[in-house]
Amino acid sequence: MKQLKWPLFILSILLFSQSMYGQKEGVKKEFGITVGINSGYFKDINFSPLNYRQSGPVFGLNYLRTKDNKTHFGIELTAGINSLNSKVTERFKSDYYIGNLRVEYLKRISTEDKKLNWHIGGQFLSSNHFVVYEGLNGFTFNFAHSLGIKGMATCQLSPNISIRSSLSLPLLAYVIRPPYNGFDKTTAENGEKPLKLLTREGDFKSLNKYMLLEWKNQFRYKASDRLDLAFNYNLTFQKVNEDTPLTQLQNQFSISTIFKF
């Protein structure tokens, strides 16, 4: 819980500031809770030469503020503990910890079609995972704090049903990974405090060295004026091109309960 105090504090400040602005007319706010499962593939040469299958639950909180459906400001927190499994032996099973924060701001591109809205804008995404094998006997991590672009399309199929699809891509990322030989004093002394590792030295990487392509899809049902329900499918492809490359593909299926206020 101590490790979450800063992210929660920042989120509280943002929510508070947004709720102040939210008194204006035309402003809609919503708060969503998401539960889902991840399933995908993982390979990090820094950790192991083997291919791994990834699976496990994910949880998310998100806040969204729209103004006259023209601007879209969102904050999203995602966390989860997944497993990595190798076909070689069950003994190689490892824990995979996820902690992501996204802040995005999108603007609507003018359209005559009120059923179909296009938004485009930018996002800050802190995408982080920490892999642990047998205590801390084996580990790796990838912390990527990026600025990128995001495009989103929303289609109102009926008064109660809408679908949304978005695509995002980082343009510049600050990527923190283990050192060349996988281990140094900083890692050793902060292995049990992954958040401290977030601030260790990394490298700026652009698209040719770091890619995190996210395709998010949502099917949303309006249950009432205050409540929406949604089914989500997200596809994430992450690649770090280095001497010790990381490649990862995640499918995420989830459901969301969205409170509107």
């Binding site: 291919n51 047998e134 060349y180 490649t247």
Partner: protein, 341 residues
């Protein structure tokens, strides 16, 4: 829905590439090449890794059995004689450390029970259930006694409390036998309670490239006074061959101070931290040393260990005969050289 179903079931190879082949030759090659580009102590330990490839690689073929591969790989890493390098299969072959030596000590060349019953005035005060942190006073002599069995799993500031209890004594026996290590920061903190100032004691370099001589710039480490107690009287440190890693870092600090004498056997000679665990397609695991520790003069104690100021070692028979020669020698040095009664 077709896209996710397709991605879930059919594209592992397309995304990640083919998984590593599990055959004896590939397992050998992965381990050999991983050491080649990451292991940090070839130079320090005088190992020609390329030459070893020409010796060992021809012994591995597609028909090599698991037993044969285990033998070849353990013989290969045995060449390194490095306690932080090991192979583990998690099954029938178990665990093999590169420094495994059938003639090494068993751990029974020292007994805390014997010390407590014969040499110490009052029962040891144990800080932990596993008795790795204990202290007392030597019988009939104005000498304190501390046993430090690990360099981890305890708040190192514990040493301040202990020295607060023992500071009135004229000298101290600091027993670190059978202490396999822990963390360097723990060692530095405990040693800081004995510091007489700042001394440059060692450098650390991480290997940072595929070339055998690719190392980052050395990081210097110094002794530093720590805590609210400072013991500056004679200290006898009792050592044995099982002392390794952070325990040897502790000795690097302690031996920089005046009136500190190492009594006992040479230490293990394994300074580097171990790598993160490595994995092979046949389900075996291994680790290796990834750092180079050097003394201020550029020499290394890796593979050598700390040579004691006063060399003496116990046998199991000594302990069975209720005699701890190492402890007795430390008392003798204190009485004769430091005139402690």
């Amino acid at each position: 829905m077709l896209i996710p179903l397709f991605l879930l079931t059919s594209c592992e190879k397309a995304i990640l590439g083919e998984d590593e082949v599990n055959d004896p030759e590939n397992n050998f090659e992965i381990l050999y090449n991983d050491f080649k580009v990451h292991y940090a102590l070839f130079g320090v330990r005088g190992i020609d890794w390329d030459e070893l490839y020409t010796q060992y690689r021809p012994r591995v073929t597609a028909q090599t059995s698991d037993q044969e591969l285990w033998t070849i790989l353990t013989e290969l890493i045995k060449e390194l004689d490095d306690g932080h390098t090991f192979l583990y299969d998690g099954d029938k072959f178990g665990f093999y450390s590169s420094a495994d030596d059938p003639d090494a000590t068993t751990g029974d060349e020292y007994s805390l029970e014997l010390l407590e019953s014969k040499y110490l005035e009052r029962p040891l005060i144990h800080q932990t259930e596993d008795e790795e942190f204990s202290y007392s006073k030597v019988k009939d002599l104005d000498i304190g006694y501390i046993y430090l069995g690990s360099m981890d799993d305890q708040d190192p500031a514990w040493i301040d409390l202990v020295l607060g209890e023992l500071k009135q004594h004229k000298a101290l026996i600091l027993d670190i036998r059978d202490n396999g290590g822990g963390t360097d920061s723990f060692s530095a903190r405990v040693a800081g309670a004995f510091a007489d100032g700042e001394h440059f004691v060692y450098t650390v370099q991480n290997r940072n490239g595929p070339g055998y001589n690719d190392f980052e710039a050395p990081r210097k480490f110094f002794t530093k006074k720590e805590g609210n107690e400072s013991f500056r009287k004679p200290v006898m440190i009792l050592t044995d061959i099982n002392d390794a890693s952070a325990t040897e870092i502790f000795l690097l600090h302690m031996k920089a101070f005046e009136d500190v004498v190492q009594v006992g056997d040479v230490t293990g000679g394994d300074f580097s931290d171990s790598s993160s665990r490595r994995f092979l397609p046949n389900g075996w695991e291994y680790q290796y040393s990834v750092q180079k520790y050097l003394l201020p003069d550029g020499t290394s104690l890796d593979g050598v260990g700390h040579i004691p100021d006063v060399f003496i070692k116990n046998t199991v028979a000594d302990i069975q005969a209720s005699q701890d020669k190492v402890f007795e020698k430390a008392l003798q040095v204190l009485c004769e050289d430091y005139n402690i009664k």
